[in-house]
Point group: C2
């Protein structure tokens, strides 16, 4: 009997689905909007319905489905319970496997979205063939996923790999969205890049292409950097110094084979990779100074791939 | 047939041995001096001889021995190869299992000394019953061991859990023994405590019990702190601020159930635990702010226990 599995990446705006063969081939992918109204009570039923419909369309029976892997943007414990997930409207503990099993009686595996994305990059992406991987997801904030010996490091509170909240600067005066001061993501994220650019533009009278940009974004900074803008270069160095030092701290715990840089800001490409590695090498302990750095290659599909890998690991 | 195993903790001055039953009871323990002369070429033969002699004395045959677990003060890869180990005189890669098997044909398991100590505390010490544990070994330097899901996090270069070298202070002007600047162990170690005390004594004219101490040690600082000395209190706060912040950084990767504080300086006891936890709570991400802290309970025996646990895990 042939087998399939589903990877489901649940985000605040949309839910991404992938139907995979047991050999890991992505056969079909689609997405639906996330309904976070009424405390997100429709999310699991919506997922169940969408998968049932796809199974019918493909002529699959329950016995053909190895399982469903689900990534959620919140802390997940070892039993697939999600403590709280503001983006989905979940304000209390949600038992994801139990909730989904009401809709569809197949095995369910749950992971944090950043951790499953790291698993995806390890399985089919740019960290393919490795077993010890750290993913940094550089977006509005900084997410992270840590893989040790081929498995997600979920942690005791589902907060394994929360690298965006490494305390980096005890002198910071502005709060991080988490409530602390001086977290890595305050510097090593799109938000951090824009903030630093604005600070430098206000502090110095120096000319810069950035002065002509009306609503400054991190992309503008990387673009101007590519065009040789000196102020943009200062912003990029500031970013790299923090992310490189943060990566050196992570390596003192996890000593990975490779760091993978993903998320929206990873579109900046090689310059982002180079400035991060430069500062990593400056701050890293000698035993892992030559650790590899690479860009993520699965983009927004990393999550569904990682979720399918969860299914295969759990089976 | 009854079974036994041996735990062997190899240090720069002495080699500690433990003979355990398969149920984990420590039946016999002893030590011999470490012969690091001639590039440490006698170390593995000495270990083999010592174990053979103990086996004879106890009437054990090779078939009764499940294996030998060995902890060494250096980076160990997945095959038990030790990259380099200055304290033992090993200046090149040493294949520990192969070297020992020449002496004694039983299974050999090798780990870094700090990692096996963490394993020991998890198995029979103060982290007993836990599966996700971080040990800080507070001595002259700061060692560390990280256990995830009951297994040592050894890392890709054998540098997993090298928490003493987390970059904490980019403005530091004095080098760490590792060659970098601003590593955690420059502040959170006996050396760091003495240094800070000396700095404060030189900087301020304030009276302090510490001024009367001829050759200042970390123990003097903790003793004077217990007696209410204000300058010693400043030193202790400085130490706690660094170790607490370092632990918060480690938790952003590993999210352990418990931090165990061991090593010589852990004799300072509850005050050390309290100041570390106070600053951990200040810097920690909310998901793990209530993480437990405890003092190590196996003292110098943590290593041999952890080594025996390696044997049982490998068997």
């Amino acid at each position: 009997m042939p087998y399939w599995g589903y990877g489901v990446d649940v985000g605040g705006t949309s839910i991404k689905f992938g139907r995979f063969t047991a050999e890991g081939e992505l056969e079909n992918q689609w997405e639906i909007p996330t309904d976070s109204s009424q405390k997100g009570k429709n999310i699991l039923p919506d997922i169940g319905r969408a998968i049932r419909r796809d199974m019918q369309g493909r002529g699959l029976r329950r016995e053909n489905v190895l399982g469903i892997g689900i990534g959620v943007p919140g802390p997940v414990d070892g039993r697939g319970h999600v403590k709280k997930c503001v983006n989905l409207g979940w304000d209390t503990v949600v038992d994801v496997p139990a909730g989904l099993r009401k809709e569809l009686d197949v095995p369910v595996h749950v992971g944090n979205d950043a951790n499953v994305a790291a698993l995806g990059e390890m399985w089919k992406g740019s960290a393919s063939g490795r077993k010890n991987v750290v993913l940094f997801t550089l977006g509005t904030g900084l997410g992270g996923g840590v893989i040790i010996g081929g498995k997600m490091l979920s942690g005791s509170n589902g907060a394994g790999g929360e690298v965006g909240h490494i305390p980096m600067n005890p002198d910071e005066t502005l709060p991080c969205p988490c409530g602390n001061y001086g977290c890595l993501e305050q510097y090593a994220s799109a938000t951090g890049v824009v903030r630093r650019a604005r600070e430098l533009l206000a502090e110095t009278p120096a000319g810069s292409l950035l002065r002509a940009v009306p609503e400054l974004t991190a992309k503008d900074v990387w673009d101007c950097y590519a065009r040789g803008d000196a102020l943009a270069a200062q912003v990029v160095e500031h970013f790299g110094r923090y992310l490189g030092r943060g990566a050196a701290a992570v390596a003192c715990v996890a000593d990975p084979e490779v760091f993978v840089l993903g998320g929206g800001m990873s579109k900046a490409g090689t310059p982002l990779l180079e400035v991060t590695r430069k500062y990593f090498r400056q701050y890293a302990f000698h035993a892992f100074r030559d650790c590899a750095f690479t860009l993520a290659s699965l983009g927004n599909d990393a999550g569904i791939y990682g979720c399918m890998y969860l299914v295969l690991q759990g089976y």
